[in-house]
Amino acid sequence: MSKSNPANLKYTKDHEWALVEGDIVTVGITDHAQELLTEVVFAELPAIGKKVEQGKQLAAVESVKSVSDVYSPVSGEVVEVNTELEANPGLINQDAFGAGWIAKVKMSNPAELEKLMDVAAYGKVMES
């Protein structure tokens, strides 16, 4: 079973999570997403400084089953990536909401946060 979704995070319908701290947003995929993907074998991380847009591709994660794009929950610039994933992509499976984070984006338009879901709304997406 999936671990429960932390209440302090924002979510997208595509199963990304966002942790907002000031203007820095840490992005990962949800535990539900990693469960659907199965064992992640490779994470394609964005370059630092890459400009991203809300809902557009940020990274990609590959499992033995498939390759999936990870979409950025906010627009902005990539300021940090989780280089641990290069050697150990399985962190996404083991700790999707923590050590398996993917990238940090410095957001350019905080108003976009309005479009993200809270934990209750995401819970409904998971059930549908």
């Binding site: 064992e39 074998v41 490779f42 033995v64």
Partner: protein, 475 residues
């Protein structure tokens, strides 16, 4: 079994060169690399090793191979006989046109046949495979808008398209906009109307799509795309589902790529190479790759002087041997035969779906085309085994697993494409096996979980193989 490297013994040889007609030269020590550890075996060891390996191969000549989306149809041996004719095998791309009239005629005629089958105005045979054909098609679209001075930056691609479609468009610099499927597995017209703007170059539609379903609103879709000045691209990899019955050109498509190694029975996968001819309507013919083959006064020639052409897509004129095989297939079957092949492909897929639907969930409950998509969601829920387990178990029964976990919009997908060549007996044997496996899922899920049990190696650790690949032999 032992690797060829493990059979190696220092100094053993499969051949011996006797009597040099030039003086022997000792290689300079600096040129000799000790780290190249090539296997040293006798001829008999060599022959046995590779013969044994080949006996562990699985191919369509050995058993049922229902790999959905890939169309692993049987390749009639007459195709090979024709491609082996000395006039073709001894042709050389640098030979003068006057000496190559037969080969040129074959290509000219094949283009004509493909035009007829697809309802298009012109074809190029140059692209080397399906995705290369897609790239060619999208480059033609891009050139068309450049020539008109229009700036269009987006390409619409449904979520039930072949995975290469977004890649081909992205390579041409287009931003990919995904169009969702509706509840019956077709395009959602309302979202299409909303997304189809004058910024959009076109819509790439895989038809039938990867759910094995024919787009029901095809003419309406074409209207919506054309109303905004866009072009309508057909991924024709699945032409085997409708050849001789309907024509993409008549449905409103402007560009199509075919996969000769799927629909037209040329070898596939390791046995390739592929071939991905592209057909276009009149508005795009000026942009086709050069050279074009033309017939004037009974003489065939390559014509390169086409100022608006996108240029060359492939050295010389594509994978010629493959064209001979596809041409043989088309001419052996004839118009009626091609139609019957399509009818049987569709009938076979529907037969499989109907027999298996009491045992596995069906992704979309409607008549399918040449392939059907089932899911193991019931087995996941009730028996704790998944699609991968079932696929592995099929190997124990001597059947090649289907395409799994694709299309991605269906959870636990299993995509079966029996193709037209299989008899009812083969289909029944296959369905019996699948029903048997569905039964095992209830009574003995462990055996499915552990499968395959009859192969030289059992379940491989795919995760470890992907995370820590070791592809070079080391002692």
């Amino acid at each position: 079994m032992e690797l060829i490297f493990e059979k190696s013994r220092v100094g053993r040889r499969a051949s011996e060169i006797q009597g040099f007609d030039v003086p022997a030269v000792e290689l300079d020590a600096s040129l000799v690399r000790a780290e190249i550890d090539l296997p040293e075996v006798a001829e008999i060891d060599l022959v046995r090793h590779y013969t044994q390996l080949s006996r562990r191969n699985f191919g369509v000549d050995i058993g049922f191979y229902p790999l959905g989306s890939c169309t692993m149809k049987y390749n009639p041996k007459i195709n090979e006989d024709m491609a082996k004719l000395a006039g073709f095998t001894e042709a050389h791309p640098y030979a003068p046109e006057a000496w190559s009239q037969g080969s040129l005629q074959l290509m000219f005629e094949l283009e004509k046949d493909l035009r007829e089958i697809c309802g298009m105005d012109a074809f190029t045979l140059q692209p080397a495979a399906g995705a290369h054909g897609e790239l060619t098609g999208v480059m033609l679209i891009k050139k068309y808008f450049e020539k008109r001075g229009e700036k269009r930056s987006k390409m619409l691609i449904p979520d039930a398209a072949h995975g290469t479609n977004p890649a081909s468009s992205a390579l041409c610099g287009y931003e990919i906009v995904s169009v969702k499927s509706n509840a019956e597995g077709g395009l959602d017209l309302d979202s299409l109307r909303e997304l189809m703007t004058e910024e959009v170059a076109g819509l790439m539609l895989t038809n039938p799509n990867t759910l094995g379903l024919f787009e029901r609103n095809i003419t309406e879709v074409a209207k919506i795309v054309h109303a905004k000045g866009g072009l309508f691209y057909c991924d024709g990899a699945n032409t085997n589902a409708y050849m001789g019955i309907t024509r993409p050109g008549d449905l409103g498509f402007d560009v199509i790529q075919l996969n000769l190694h799927k629909s037209f029975s040329t070898p596939h996968g390791g046995g390739g190479p592929g071939s991905g001819p592209v057909g276009v309507k009149q508005i795009l013919t000026d942009f086709l790759p050069v050279p074009r083959i033309e017939l004037n006064d009974g003489v065939y020639s390559f014509v390169g002087d086409k100022p608006d052409s996108i240029g060359k897509m492939k050295a010389f004129y594509g994978n010629f041997g493959v064209m001979v095989k596809a041409f043989t297939y088309i001419r052996s079957l004839g118009a009626k035969g091609l139609k019957r092949a399509a009818e049987n492909a569709v009938l076979n897929a529907n037969y499989v779906m109907a027999r298996l639907s009491p045992h596995f969930d069906v992704a979309y409950q409607r008549v399918c085309m040449h392939e059907c998509v089932l899911t193991s969601e019931k087995q996941v829920r009730e028996n704790g085994i998944n699609t991968k387990d079932i696929a592995k178990r099929m190997i124990d029964y001597g059947i090649h697993p289907p395409t799994i976990y694709f299309p991605m919009i269906v959870h636990e997908a299993m995509m079966f494409e029996p193709t037209e060549t299989e008899s009812k007996e083969t289909l029944d044997e296959f369905c019996d096996v699948m029903i048997e496996i569905a039964g095992e899922a209830k009574t003995n899920p462990q055996i499915i979980h552990d499968a395959p049990l009859t192969t030289p190696v059992n379940r491989l650790d795919e995760v470890k193989a992907a995370r820590e690949p070791r592809v070079v032999y080391q002692k």
